[in-house]
Amino acid sequence: MDTSFRLLPQQASDHAASVDHLTLAMLFVSVFFTVLIATLIIYFAIRYRRRPASPSALKEAPKSGAKHGALVLEVTWTVIPLIMVAVMFLAGARVFVRSQQPPVDAMTFNVVGKQWMWLLQHPTGVRETNALHVPAGKLIRLLMISEDVIHDFGLPAFRMKQDVLPGRYTSEWFEPTVPGEYHLFCDQYCGSEHSKMVGTIFVMEPAQYRQWVEGRPADVPPRVAGEKLFAQYGCVTCHAARGPTMAGLYGRTVDLEGGGTVIADENYLRESILYPSAKITRGYPPIMPSFRGQLTEEQVMDLVIYIKSLAGATTEPYQLQNLGPATQPHRAIPGPGPSQPTQLPKGQP
């Protein structure tokens, strides 16, 4: 990593550039006003410094005529900041809203934070601790959860940051453009070794990344691990017949017992595995047992990713071939079709 002294952080994504542009613009405004105020204060303090026995300036006490001017001034310096902050808000919101909406066809990496380390897993199954290798020019999305306290996955070079909560998935995405090594910081205080909960993001050329991944011991990809768990815990027995089908479930709007609907996202899937009675799909008896305490957060993530893959909503099962030339078309997302009788992938009993 480049450890030489620097005043500005590395800029490793387009988002980083747009944040920096915003910062520069704000900096310009701030410097202008700071200099304006400072100059005025210093100028007045010198120009109107107290001179013994010449208080004549004060005799020009505000007269009624000055009052009108004062009102104009007050309104001016209320309205100008008002317009300025409105512009600032819109500019900041525009960048933010985009950064909060993960693109649909990103490579999804799993992140589990715990005191005091980051456990990361590639869509191909490769596991890493406190380090993450990613291909440049690809959309990287992180599905994150904590096992204990609140952590934060902070990526200064990409100007991104998101708290990692216990009990609920959060998500963060970035698109690295410049190969290199970048900091990963835990930005939310999490206990004794908070400052050791750091790591490195390695951005590599796609071909290099492919080589790197293939050189790693073959781990089971999350989707495959999830599929095994799905069979192992007998999920398949119900969710093929009596229970709601998993095919095409992800991203769909589910009608709930007792009225109301919910969109089946990762958090919904997680909650349904751990606390099945929380949101019961209409028309099905609440008979599913809880898997709380039986599955680790990583296993739950595997299951969630497997169920997602049944909806065809992501690029899983992940093909390293996708890392070919950047012109490779990404798969479009089929809309949530009408629910079909479960079609389990081959290999299921």
Binding site: H15, S18, P103, L139, G259, V262, D265, N267, I333
Partner: protein
């Protein structure tokens, strides 16, 4: 200051109104329904009745009705602030949309990010 005091009759009337509202709210809570909308409606009505009771107590038992404008402001201010606390916090909980792909944002290509939207 005894002009502030209401005749005893008024207190008794307010008290009876409070009891009537109490039994009304209890009765309403027994309306049998499993439907979510209906239950939410009943909950809302229940708390509206509680609010009405509170207003009765504040206005007559606590003499705000005959009080100065300052008393009115002070009595109301805490509830206004409570409304801020509730509104802005519940706003978060009601709008916590499902994360991730649900937004269906079009793919952003390298080098074309600023044109993505």
């Amino acid at each position: 200051m005894s002009s502030q005091a209401n005749p005893v009759k008024v207190y008794i009337r307010v008290f009876i109104a409070l009891l009537v509202l109490l039994f009304l709210t209890v009765a309403l809570a027994f309306v049998p329904t499993r439907h979510e909308t209906a239950r939410n409606l009943l909950t809302t009505i229940g708390f509206t009745i509680a609010g009405t009771k509170a207003v009765l107590i504040i206005l007559w038992f606590m003499h705000v009705k005959a009080g100065t404008r300052l008393t009115w402001i002070f009595a109301a201010s805490a509830f206004v602030w409570l409304l801020i606390l509730f509104a802005l916090t519940m706003n978060d909980y009601m709008t916590r949309k499902e994360i991730a792909n649900v937004y269906r944002v079009p793919t952003v290509r390298a080098g074309s990010m600023n044109d993505a939207r």
